[in-house]
Amino acid sequence: MREIALQGLWKNNPGLVQLLGLCPLLAVTTSVVNGLGLGLATLFVLAASNLTVSLIRNLVRKEIRIPVFVLIIASLVTVVELTMKAWFHDLYRVLGIFIPLIVTNCVIIGRAEAFASRNRPAAALFDGVMMGLGFTLVLIVLGGTRELLGQGTLLSGAHMLFGPNVDLTIDLLPGDGGFLLALLPPGAFFGLGLLVALKNTIDRRMEARSVAATPMVLPVEQPG
């Protein structure tokens, strides 16, 4: 269990290591709330599809597994889309096309194929939640960085997620004028690149430290 969590949140993070689902990752992360909204939607689909795929893993022959996975994922995404349109209408208007596009997020079919179809339901569900959380965290951090640099705020637009009377906006750099590039598409690439670099640096530091502590143990690469 601990290993599954570690894989999803850090070692095999969908956004930073597997680099899957980049299209929505780069497109919607102009603010924390947008990132959180898409992250939660993806998390839900990922957890539900992992659970379903695991439950039917002995029923479905391997020749037709891909179409079956696609059917499951597409149905779940449509359910999420309709639910969001009904209960989080403003957020849906902002995220727009990227909600239905969750269907094409490779993280989801990737986990169905690589993990859920080979593991028991509880483990598959947990893996889905952890992978979803890992993805959501990257969306939040990237969204937060870009929002802060580009607009000087954090958590603007929280009413779209938490109801009309909630205003959590933190204005950190008052005055208009932010670093516009951060909000434009190139800013998304720069931001993600820096995050990946940061993660790799931390990994290398920790590796060096553990090698120094126990020189006989070689670090084992996890297969992607």
Partner: protein, 228 residues
């Protein structure tokens, strides 16, 4: 059992299984659709009404504005080859204002879709940007949430300022341009002016003509989203 028999049996099994999942998936989507469609329609109507009320305040009229619409067509003044929807506000049966939905065709990057509210005397009650792709940080100051520039049209009419002064300052007019962006405000000023000219020409028909086609509001919004 002959090998070909086994083969066709396993194919049939696979097909049946696949069909089974398709049925379950479709049922799930259908149930959700059934549970949410009323709420979604309400949301979309509320959104439309909220936008319309920004341009013509709810306190000034008493009809269902979104249901009292006519379709007009004038590519020169309204900026699009498509029919343009006009929403009409009345109070106790008397026309109060109309909301035109013209397009400024020559924005910096593509068309800018607007709502222009005009009262019965030809005075602007409000202008809002519905949809645009102008440069973030420069041209997007036409959005109310970025700057209050768009409020500068409130209370204007074809005689205030005069027709020649309906332009940005750089062109000798009365409206501010933005630092680093002249094309966007120029396009919007021209579109609002043209909408007023259109209103002037067709005032009677816009204010009190019979409703041409009453649009299905929900499908109209869906069509807009498809384009976006």
């Amino acid at each position: 059992m002959a090998p070909s028999d086994r083969f066709s049996r396993s194919m049939a099994m696979a097909a049946a299984l696949l069909a089974g999942f398709a049925v379950v998936g479709t049922a799930l989507v259908a149930l959700t659709q059934d549970a949410t469609h009323q709420r979604i329609a309400d949301n979309e109507l509320a959104y439309l009404l909220r936008t319309l009320n920004e341009v013509v305040p709810a306190s000034t009229y008493d009809n269902s504005m979104f249901a009292d619409t006519i379709e007009v067509f004038d590519p020169d003044l309204l900026g699009t080859e498509e029919p343009v929807t006009v929403y009409r506000a009345t109070r106790e049966g008397q026309p109060v204002a109309v909301i035109l939905t013209p397009v400024a065709p020559v924005g910096y990057s593509g068309p800018i879709r607007l709502l222009v509210g005009v009262d019965a005397n030809g005075v602007v009650t409000g202008v809002r940007t519905v949809d645009h792709r102008e440069t973030p940080g420069l041209g997007d100051a036409i959005e109310l949430k970025r700057s209050d520039w768009i409020l500068g049209f409130d209370g204007r009419s074809l005689s205030n300022p005069t027709l020649e002064a309906w332009a940005v300052r750089r062109d000798g007019g009365e409206f501010d341009q933005f630092t680093g962006a002249t094309v966007t405000p120029r396009a919007v000023v021209k579109a609002v002016r043209d909408a007023l000219l259109y209103f002037e020409e067709h005032r009677e028909r816009l204010l009190s003509g019979d409703p041409g086609q009453s649009l299905d509001v929900t499908s109209d919004i869906a069509a807009e989203q498809d384009q976006g």
